[in-house]
């Protein structure tokens, strides 16, 4: 599965995107954020405040309990500031 990052989450992680093999116990968007936090100090810094992280699964906004089964692309980003 591909994980993509935007704005300050991207800057803090240090990469725009990465391909990951999910452990079997990572089932939801919230699980993914918790698991990614353990991958490196940069990930831990970027995702240290879970409430500040928004998630989209296959380009649709998702809540932390959204299942990841079958997902191809999950995006993590801060609250949006368009318009």
């Amino acid at each position: 599965m591909r994980v993509v990052y935007f704005a300050w989450v991207r800057e803090r992680v240090g990469v725009e995107e990465e391909d990951v093999d999910l452990p079997a116990d990572v089932a939801t968007a919230g699980d993914l954020v918790d698991w990614l936090r353990t991958r490196s100090p940069n990930h831990a810094f970027a995702l240290e405040e879970p409430r500040a992280i928004r998630v989209a699964v296959d380009r649709v906004h998702a809540q932390p309990d959204a299942p990841l089964a079958g997902a191809r692309e999950v995006a993590l980003f801060p609250p949006m500031t368009g318009g």
């Binding site: 935007f6 704005a7 989209a56 906004h61 609250p79 500031t81 368009g82 318009g83």
Partner: protein, 155 residues
């Protein structure tokens, strides 16, 4: 009556406000009201040199499309166009344009406000500041008041 198909565009090109309004009305004589909301880049008292607009390609267009589709189910719109800039935007330039057309003004006013409230909180765009003095600018923070503005449309 079939609902109109919204026009959605995201890109780095300057926004042609008059052209978009003309396009919303082209070839029809049943439109009695057009509301065009234009959001501009401010210079913040001379401190801002530019805004860098990052977006999520693919999702940005899709999410604006979902918001626009919701608007055309709520109001009897005869035209709806949304243009959002990406990349570097200078003070005075247009960041976002919403054009809503309807037979009577209430629908156009309300739909334009609805689009903007949801664009602010749901469309995947992020603004980074470039400061006029050359110092490092930060990411613009989301505002609680924008979330509150979105919640007023709940039903």
């Amino acid at each position: 009556m079939a609902a109109v198909t919204p026009s959605i565009r995201v890109g780095p090109e300057p926004v042609d406000v008059a052209g978009e309004q003309a396009a919303a009305c082209a070839g029809r004589s049943d439109i009695g009201a057009v509301v065009a909301f234009t959001g501009l880049c401010r210079d913040e008292g001379g401190q801002l040199a530019a805004l860098e607009l990052e977006h999520y390609p693919g999702m940005a267009e899709a999410e604006i499309g979902r918001i626009a589709d919701e608007a055309v189910t709520r109001w009897p719109l005869l035209g709806l166009r949304v243009v959002h800039r990406s990349g570097r935007v200078l003070p005075g330039e247009t960041i976002v344009l919403v054009v809503a057309a309807s037979a009577h003004r209430a629908a156009a006013f309300e739909a334009a406000a609805f689009l903007m409230d949801f664009l602010k909180t749901r469309a995947p765009f992020w603004k980074k500041e470039h400061r006029a003095d050359g110092s490092a600018g930060g990411w613009v923070a989301a505002k609680d008041e924008d979330d509150a503005a979105t919640e007023r449309w709940a039903r």
